[in-house]
């Protein structure tokens, strides 16, 4: 197992290095001169050239890349071109918000989806299975802004249980923020629900066919013991992987949902940076996003390996 972990970590580092290069190169070829962006359209050529020199934009690309990556690793993420403030505290603040939202969404989505998936899988081909499968598919087909707006319409306007606007204050605690997190989290749940539930269902159906389930049943164990103790342990393995991977998406992929609810998460921060051509901010946010995805994946692999004795004890 330790060998497995070390190898996975090695792959992770390699992935991060490669993506950091790609991010750096892409931001280089984007149109627009950063010095010009900072100084504005009226600034003279000379001032722009001087700023380019100060920012190190005339150095060879490799030098710029190494400097940028080195600074990033040591915690110096630079200053935003558009706001003139330090990038790191800003991104960290947004990251915290995104994580709060992700946690609430996971707490709602996972138990619900797993429950529905197991329920459907144990009743394959029966009416309950059909209802769950069809309705979860119907929900996943709706775009997030539609479900988001419907939720606002219902639970903020008709029955004002939750606020329609989720723009939480900068220093809000989790408890204070919670009411504002429910509706966006529900919207994200709709996207994840069908995915996780269908995978769980498939896992349960697949495992039920295995001869060891017959062995367990023929021991005289009750149906619920067989399901709980024998089937789920193996059937949920792929589900757990998918949940871990979806954490990455929940933290950094909710751009549409954040916009619908005006939620100050990392997705909206990225939109903001792109809108302003704020190169260092863009780079920092993308790199953080990649980091989150990479670690979510690593987590998924490790959890899977740990739960699966065939890998753990290799």
């Amino acid at each position: 197992m330790s060998r497995y972990v070390v190898r996975r970590l090695g792959f992770l580092l390699l992935t991060l290095l490669l993506t950091s290069m790609i991010i750096f190169l892409i931001t280089q070829v984007l149109p627009g001169d950063p010095a010009r962006v900072i100084l504005g359209r009226e600034a003279g050529e000379q001032a722009v050239a001087q700023l380019r020199e100060e920012l190190g934009l005339n150095d060879p690309l490799v030098v710029q890349y190494v400097r940028w990556l080195g600074n990033f690793i040591t915690g110096d993420w630079g200053t935003s071109y558009s706001t003139g403030t330090e990038i790191r505290p800003f991104v960290m603040q947004r990251l915290r918000n995104s994580m709060m939202l992700a946690i609430v969404a996971l707490l709602i989505a996972v138990p619900l989806a797993v429950f529905l998936g197991v329920w459907a899988g144990l009743r394959e081909g029966k009416p309950a299975d059909g209802v769950i499968s069809v309705s979860s598919l119907a929900v996943v087909g709706l775009p997030e802004f539609v479900t988001g707006l419907i939720l606002i319409q219902l639970f903020a306007q008709r029955w004002p249980l939750f606020p329609p606007n989720s723009s939480i204050p900068v220093d809000a605690t989790f408890r204070e923020a919670l009411p504002m997190l429910i509706l966006p989290a529900l919207t994200a749940t709709f996207v994840l629900l069908a995915y996780i539930a269908r995978l769980t269902r498939a896992g349960v159906i697949e495992e039920l066919k295995q001869p060891y389930v017959r062995t367990a049943r023929l021991k005289g164990l009750t149906g619920s013991t067989v399901t709980r103790k024998h089937v789920l342990r193996n059937a949920l393995l792929p589900t757990i992987t998918v949940i871990a991977i979806s954490i990455g998406w929940l933290i950094s992929g909710l751009i549409v949902i954040e916009n619908v609810f005006n939620y100050p998460g990392i997705g909206r921060a990225l939109l903001f940076a792109i809108d302003r051509r704020d190169l260092p901010l863009m780079q920092a946010i993308t790199l953080v996003t990649v980091l989150i995805f990479a670690f979510a994946n690593l987590g998924a692999d490790l959890v899977y390996a740990w739960l699966n004795p065939r890998i753990r004890l290799e």
């Binding site: 330790s2 060998r3 070390v6 295995q210 001869p211 060891y212 017959r214 062995t215 367990a216 049943r217 023929l218 021991k219 005289g220 164990l221 009750t222 103790k229 024998h230 342990r233 193996n234 739960l307 699966n308 004795p309 065939r310 004890l313």
Partner: protein, 683 residues
């Protein structure tokens, strides 16, 4: 032994649903099993034997149901009983030992816990009491170090150990009835012998009633008191194991027994009988006698369903209109083979087709972190470790050994699918490049391979004709039209009609697919044909026809054959020369005639003794080998067999690789024990 009846099956009819129809899979079968009695359910695939076993366990699945009849277990009706009734019986009074132990154990629960949960369920044992009992049970099935086994996950123990765990599990609650569904079929022959002995001892001690499902008459002879022979869902013959073996009176039972090569039968002077045709599919079974379409003595009256009745000599009950004629000997059931081939050798100008000299195949094992940091060399799996063989034209070399012996790896190096680490190979006088890349078309033409599983070796999207045309056009540069003509000829040579060319693999039975695979191998008339367990996946009646086919084709074309099998009966029937492999080494060379004659290598001796004898009246004692085959990473020093050898001498076996010893009869044995000593002890 009491004669209390434990299980009574009356007029059992089972059907499976296909679309809207219920197709009868088992028809009107009645029998009973008494305490202390072992009843064998024997048949080929599609005979309904597993269906009966599953009906008794009431585990037919959604698509199967008992449409008629009763199954009575000690006064309780298993067909109509409630689920709660069955949960009380399952694991408690009735237990199943399945065929494949690995997939029948939960991969993510420790073995000990999987046994313990039965005890907690049925015996109300506490956690600690159950765990202690589990260790007793594991030692009862002779597992070394039960503590460690109990803590292991299924994948960490060998197949034989897994099956012992399943047996411990089944016997944990001292059930009255044990249903065993081919429990040794997936195991090596020496492991099988040990498991069969274990089963026999345990059920005798406990007076358990056993229903034993198998396709193997050897196993029947070893363990069963009574036998039910099934064909296409009908019980065609029933009697004592001895009567069925010595005086079978149903034409199917006769054919079945005559199609399995017994040890000592050789292709020279003994033609296997092969039944024509195949078991009818579900839904296509004739109304009358189900065997009539394949029966050599069928008459008009066979269109009506015969009774199951005692034949004239009174031994067994037979479902055949002509049972009395067969029993008194006035009617001979003969499936005599139909083909006669002319001799004609292609490579007779040479005395050797292939030589392998000191060939080794070592695979590096992925290193651990520690080994990488310490810059250790990776461990090696020594799959083949210094093997020299010679294959002669028109002759068959049989490679025998259990799983892990390296026989398949050796064959793969010959065909070029696996590279060799060292050693030389010479084909038809020229050096054979190690991998496929270095080989020219000429070489590719001369070596062909027939794999074990015909289901997986034909491309499901190509017609049979397209599959056969490829080697013809690519390796023999025939035009499309010439190739099509040749396809017809090839199909005919494996006794399939030319219209098979337009069919897809899914439309063929397993035996027919293997014929196509053989036709494909013969497309280039190779100098060397490799058959890797080429009949192991087939039913015995089909196996016989494939063996006859190989013999006929070889006699006609003079090809050399390298035939690999774990089945000594099959190898000694088909082969002229035999090499016995153990853990990457050849330990004995023998001619097929001399294989049964001492001196033997101690490993060969154990193998031979382990093969179950189908004659129930002969006492058989297998030489049981201790433990499992060691890992090929840590091949024992000296003689690789010394860790399990029943004739272990001492330090010399551990320290020195034994010398080759040549007997006067031409047998070569690699052992420290002198031949005359082996011979005198093995007589």
């Amino acid at each position: 032994m009491s004669n209390q009846s434990i299980l009574t099956v009356s007029n059992l009819t089972v059907a499976y649903r296909r679309d809207r129809d219920w197709l009868t899979a088992v028809r009107d079968v009645s029998f009973n099993v008494a305490a202390g009695q072992t009843v064998g359910l024997v048949g080929e695939s599609g005979s309904g034997k597993s269906t009966i076993a599953l009906a008794i366990m009431r585990y037919l699945g959604k698509n199967g149901r008992v449409t008629q009849g009763n199954i009575d277990f000690m006064g309780r009706d298993l067909v109509t009983g409630s689920d709660a009734d069955l949960r009380d019986l399952w694991g408690n009074h009735i237990a199943l030992v399945p065929q494949d132990p690995l997939s029948s154990l939960n991969p993510s629960i420790r073995v000990g816990e999987q046994v313990a949960e039965i005890l907690r369920q049925h015996e109300n044992m506490s956690q600690n009491a159950a765990n202690a009992r589990v260790r007793d049970l594991l030692s009862m099935v002779k597992l070394p170090d039960p503590e460690r086994v109990a803590r292991s996950y299924p994948h960490q123990i060998s197949g034989g150990m897994q099956q012992r765990v399943m047996i411990a599990m089944a016997l944990s609650t001292e059930p009255k009835l044990l249903v065993m569904d081919e429990p040794t079929t997936a195991l090596d022959v020496t492991t099988e012998a040990a498991i069969l002995d274990l089963i026999r001892d345990l059920i005798r001690e406990r007076d358990t009633a056993v229903l034993y499902v198998t396709h193997d008459f050897g196993v029947v002879g070893r363990i069963c008191d009574r036998v039910l022979v099934l064909y296409a869902g009908d019980l065609v013959e029933e009697g004592t194991a001895s009567a069925i073996y010595h005086r079978p009176n149903h034409p199917y039972t006769r054919g079945l027994l005559a199609s399995v090569p017994q040890l000592g039968q050789s292709k020279i002077g003994f033609q296997l009988q092969s039944m024509p045709g195949q078991i009818p599919a579900l839904g296509e079974r004739p109304e009358g006698c189900v065997f009539a379409p394949r029966c050599p003595v069928a008459v008009d009256s066979c269109a009506t369903w015969p009774d199951l009745a005692t034949s004239a000599n009174g031994d067994s009950r037979v479902r055949c209109h002509r049972r009395d004629e067969i029993a008194d000997g006035s009617l001979v059931v003969d499936y005599s083979a139909e083909m006669v081939y002319a001799e004609g050798n292609r490579h007779t100008d040479r005395d050797t087709i292939l030589t392998a000299d000191n060939v080794a195949v070592h695979f590096p094992v992925t290193r651990t972190m520690k080994q990488v940091l310490r810059r250790d060399k990776p461990d090696l799996v020594k799959a083949v470790d210094g093997v020299s063989i010679r294959v002669e034209p028109g002759r068959t070399l049989g490679l025998v050994g259990e799983s892990g012996s390296g026989k398949t790896t050796l064959a793969r190096t010959v065909v070029g699918l696996t590279g060799r680490s060292s050693g030389e190979m010479v084909l038809l006088g020229s050096e054979l490049p190690t991998g496929l890349k270095g080989r020219d078309l000429e070489t590719l033409r001369e070596i062909k391979y027939v794999f074990q599983n015909p289901e997986e070796t034909l491309n499901p999207y190509l017609t049979i004709g397209e599959s056969l045309r490829r080697p013809l056009m690519r390796l023999r540069s025939l035009s499309r039209r010439e190739a099509d003509a040749e396809v017809a000829r090839l199909l005919e040579s494996v006794r399939l009609s030319a219209d098979y060319a337009t069919r897809y693999p899914r439309q063929l039975s397993g035996g027919e697919k293997q014929r196509v695979a053989i036709a494909r191998a013969f497309a280039t008339n190779p100098a060397l044909l490799i058959g890797d367990e080429a009949v192991s996946a087939l039913d015995v009646s089909v196996q016989a026809s494939i063996l006859n086919l190989l013999n006929g084709l070889q006699a006609e074309h003079g090809n050399a054959i390298l035939f690999i099998s774990h089945d000594l009966g099959v190898v000694s029937y088909l082969a002229d020369d035999i090499a016995v492999m153990y853990l990457g080494h050849v330990v004995e060379f023998s001619s097929a005639e001399m294989l049964l004659q001492p001196p033997h290598h101690p490993y060969t001796e154990a193998l031979l003794s382990a093969i179950p004898n189908p004659d129930p009246d002969q006492e058989q004692t297998a030489i049981l080998l201790s433990g499992d085959v060691p890992s090929a990473i840590n091949v024992p020093s000296g003689c690789p067999f010394h860790t399990r050898c029943p004739r272990y001498l001492g330090d010399i076996c551990r320290e020195e690789m034994p010398p080759w010893r040549d007997s006067a009869e031409g047998t070569r044995i690699r052992c420290h024990i002198p031949l005359n000593e082996l011979r005198s002890e093995q007589l």
